[in-house]
């Protein structure tokens, strides 16, 4: 990096200042940001949190002036970034100070080749060619994407795209880096790597990182400041533990802390482990699964790929009535391809798929919620969306049943495109679920979902399985898998490498273990489970004490 003389870089310098900032989108009558006043110090690692639709994306975009320069709408107040006001400087005039990675990095790529994409900002900023060469190499190494340099950005996997997008943002050496849900497409290890790389930048070169994220279990241990957003209320800024306590239910360890009365509730696995020290739990509970019912889906020796690239290499999977199976594995392990084969969208090279003793017929005996569920929404209202499916399949259900299953009846007359990403997913799921097929497949269904929406999703999946049907979901969200799955299938390089109860398969994996497993040992999955066991043990101890005293 070129050494620059920074004037006034004492500890009191703020990277970002919001002064009484209010913002209302065009065509909306309530403000997203209302009189927000806060400061983010230089060199902080900041988490922006809040329920879905609370204005996290808006907040992030306001920092570099995309709001209001690109969004339109009513803006008042003042945002300054290293003492440049976004009202006086357009986003491009701030490009040397602040970089931005949007939620869907694929849509934001400008050039075709990875290396050129990373050089793009440098070219725009007029950086000298010799310096540019060095910067590009440094950035390729910093995000570990050197091996991808000659690839086309369109052929990368989701995780690779995310890393390249961050590298492209970092190349010009910004002082502030903004990221909108940077780990939503990454597997646990990939997320860990990206967050560790960001932390290194914060520590080594003092850049300020501001990220919006729902998967708190991933980020809580890295951040040192949090901004909590609530629609129509002033934002809270402070220690992550306090802010999460105020606006969010927090990661599983925090929820456990709240359930069993630890004050203050822990934020990370390490803190929870310290607080749980000396506690004795009964053996982890066995999963209560009614013996699997009638088999619904069976795939044998599936081999599939695209052109020369072999993706699946002899996969056997099955699904029975009442089961919820979580497919897990690295980015690019073949989960999506497997789901596509099971749904009858992709022709396997060999092997075969049987659903309900027949071929898979999409929209009849199998439904699939794709990775971008927005791609199905076309109706004017949420109710119309569900009605369209019911009309097409001639199903027995009603519009209200389908909406009640996901608790979205209050969105009845809203336009699907006006909803937040999380709400859209629930609407798409209601529309797809109305197919009422025996097998429901979901590809990464937790992008943009807050805790509350995730609870609805879990309730919906359980309800589906209890009605004698089956669910198979591909996910990177280990906490969701721990909460809802009755069985976990782990895939690596196109083969099934492990299969069984979530407690066993996830329990002792250093990468895939849920937070409860990390604190209390293999077999523990959810905070509710642990809290119940703690009650039981403390009751038993009390009983014992009562007996000795009497």
């Amino acid at each position: 990096m070129v050494a620059t003389v920074r004037l006034g870089t004492d500890d009191n310098v703020n990277a970002v200042d919001f002064e009484r900032v209010s913002f209302t989108y065009p065509d909306s009558d309530s403000p997203v940001l209302d009189e927000a006043t806060l400061s983010l110090p230089e060199g902080a690692f900041v988490l922006v949190t809040g329920a879905t639709g609370a204005g996290k994306s808006t907040f992030i975009r306001a920092v570099n002036g995309l709001v209001p320069h690109f969004s339109g709408g009513e803006f008042s107040g003042r945002v300054t970034i290293h003492s440049r006001s976004t009202l006086d400087f357009a986003p491009r005039a701030l490009a040397d100070l602040v970089a931005f990675v949007p939620q869907d990095p694929a849509a934001a790529f400008v050039v075709d080749r990875v290396e050129d994409e990373i050089a793009y900002s440098l070219e725009n900023l007029g950086v000298d060619r010799a310096v540019m060469r060095r910067r590009v190499e440094e950035t390729l190494d910093a995000l570990n994407v050197e091996s991808l340099r000659d690839r086309s950005v369109r052929t990368l996997s989701g995780g690779e795209q995310q890393r390249v997008a961050i590298a492209a943002a970092l190349a010009p050496g910004p002082r502030v880096l903004l990221l909108d849900e940077p780990t939503s497409q990454l597997d646990p290890q990939g997320a860990e790597d990206v967050l560790a790389a960001l932390q290194r930048l914060v520590h080594d070169i003092g850049i300020t990182v501001v990220l919006a994220e729902h998967r708190l279990e991933r980020v809580a241990g890295f951040v040192d400041l949090a901004v909590g957003l609530r629609r129509g209320e002033a934002p809270v800024t402070g220690e992550p533990a306090e802010v999460l306590d105020a606006v969010d239910s927090g990661p599983p360890v925090t929820r456990l802390g709240r359930l069993v009365g630890w004050r203050p509730p822990p934020l990370t696995v390490r803190e929870a482990r310290r607080m749980a020290h000396g506690m004795h739990l009964t053996a982890p509970p066995q999963l209560e699964v009614a013996s699997p019912g009638r088999p619904l889906l069976a795939a044998r020796r599936l081999r599939a790929g695209y052109g020369h690239a072999q993706v699946l290499d002899g996969v056997d999977v099955h699904l029975a009535e009442g089961e919820i199976v979580a497919l897990m594995g690295r980015n690019g392990a073949g989960k999506t391809t497997l789901l596509r084969c099971l749904a009858g969208l992709h022709r396997p090279e060999s092997g075969h798929v049987e659903i309900d003793s027949g071929h898979p017929v999409p929209g009849r005996n199998v439904a699939l919620c794709p990775q971008r569920p927005e791609s199905v929404l076309f109706a004017e209202t949420v109710a119309g969306e569900v009605a369209a499916t019911l009309k097409a399949v001639g199903g027995p259900g009603t519009v209200n049943d389908s909406m009640d299953a996901l608790d979205i009846a209050h969105l009845h007359d809203r336009h699907p495109r006006d909803l937040s990403a999380g709400q859209r997913l629930l609407v798409a799921l209601a529309a797809i679920g109305a197919v009422d097929a025996p097998v429901l497949l979901l590809d990464e269904p937790t992008r943009g979902l807050d805790r509350d929406s995730k609870t609805r999703l879990v309730g919906f999946l359980r309800g589906w399985a209890q009605r004698g049907r089956g669910v198979m979901l591909a996910t990177h969200d280990v906490e969701l898998a721990a909460e809802v799955a009755t069985r976990v299938v782990m895939i690596a390089s196109g083969e099934v490498i492990a299969e069984g109860e979530p407690g066993h398969v996830l329990g002792d994996s250093p990468v895939f273990a849920p937070q409860m497993g990390r604190v209390f040992g293999a077999g523990w999955l959810t905070p509710e489970q642990v809290a119940r066991s703690m009650m039981v043990t403390s009751d038993a101890r009390d009983d014992g004490r009562a007996r000795t005293t009497s």
């Binding site: 357009a90 040397d96 949007p102 050129d116 050089a119 070219e123 000298d128 540019m132 097409a392 797809i432």
Partner: protein
């Protein structure tokens, strides 16, 4: 290969296509477009878009012919004439399709002098819309099929069109935001590792120029083989020189990629 050489190739092939209605020139040119696409296309979803351009081409032939068929006092000659006009447009479309699959439109953008940066950007964005839309169409079709809505009937058109257009709009906004946030349009601009003009680029550029020169020469001479007569319908003659000019455009497919050229797979 240098994006400038590809642009030159596409312009030359397009020029040859619109200069003739002779099927014995047009069909070989269609073959040339296919061979070049097959040998040189980049990896990624845009490679699939070639087929769509071909389908559009065939549709063009059909509609042009169909329009004439429904005229009163129909003559065989006018049908043939319309079909040949259609073929000419179809070949032009396929050439454009090949250009789209072999070269990155943004590569040309980077060559544009700074003064023309804005119009070149608009052109590059417009060029990238076709492959993006095509990718979106297949995603949405599939997704709707999975909820039981078969796209095919006229009534189900909104189920395809609305998500494709909405997603396209949203993506365009994200792209514009991203470009602005990354400093696009600031004054001074430098260039990172300019694409090298290889010997292969020179050879292709020379061949393209030669093909154009031959066709211009034929046009100036009013070479009768360029147009096929429909009144009366006669088999057109073929000038070996012009046919050679058409075939020489397939050169990019036969020249090996040199090791110094960076791959994009």
């Amino acid at each position: 290969m240098h994006p400038g050489a590809w642009l030159l190739w596409a312009l030359s092939a397009g020029f040859v296509a619109i200069s003739t209605t002779n099927p014995f020139y047009l069909l070989p040119l269609l073959g040339v477009a296919w061979v070049v696409h097959a040998a040189c296309h980049r990896s990624g979803p845009q490679a699939r878009s070639w087929r769509i351009f071909l389908i559009f081409g065939v549709l063009t032939i059909c509609t042009r012919t169909a329009l004439v068929v429904f005229l009163p006092d129909i003559q065989l000659g006018s049908v043939v004439e319309a079909a040949l006009e259609g073929l000419r447009l179809a070949v032009l479309l396929t050439v454009f399709g090949t250009y789209n699959t072999v070269s990155d439109p943004f590569g040309v953008l980077r060559l544009a002098p700074r003064r023309f940066h804005e119009p070149a950007l608009a052109a590059a964005l417009a060029l990238s819309i076709a492959p993006r839309t095509i990718a979106a169409v297949s995603t949405v079709r599939e997704a709707q099929r999975l909820r039981g809505i078969e796209i095919g009937r006229f009534r189900s058109l909104p189920a395809l069109a609305v998500p494709v257009l909405e997603t396209g709009m949203e993506e365009a906004v994200v792209l514009a935001e991203s470009m602005d946030a990354r400093g696009h349009g600031r004054g001074r601009r430098t260039r990172y590792r300019p694409e090298r003009w290889s010997r292969r680029s020179s050879t292709v550029a020379l061949a393209s120029a030669a093909a154009v020169a031959v066709v211009v020469w034929a046009l100036l001479r009013a070479d009768p083989s360029l147009a096929m007569s429909a009144f009366p319908i006669t088999w057109p003659r073929v000038s070996p020189v012009v046919l050679a000019a058409v075939l020489v455009l397939s050169l990019p497919a036969w020249l090996p990629q040199s090791a110094s050229e960076r791959t994009t797979t």
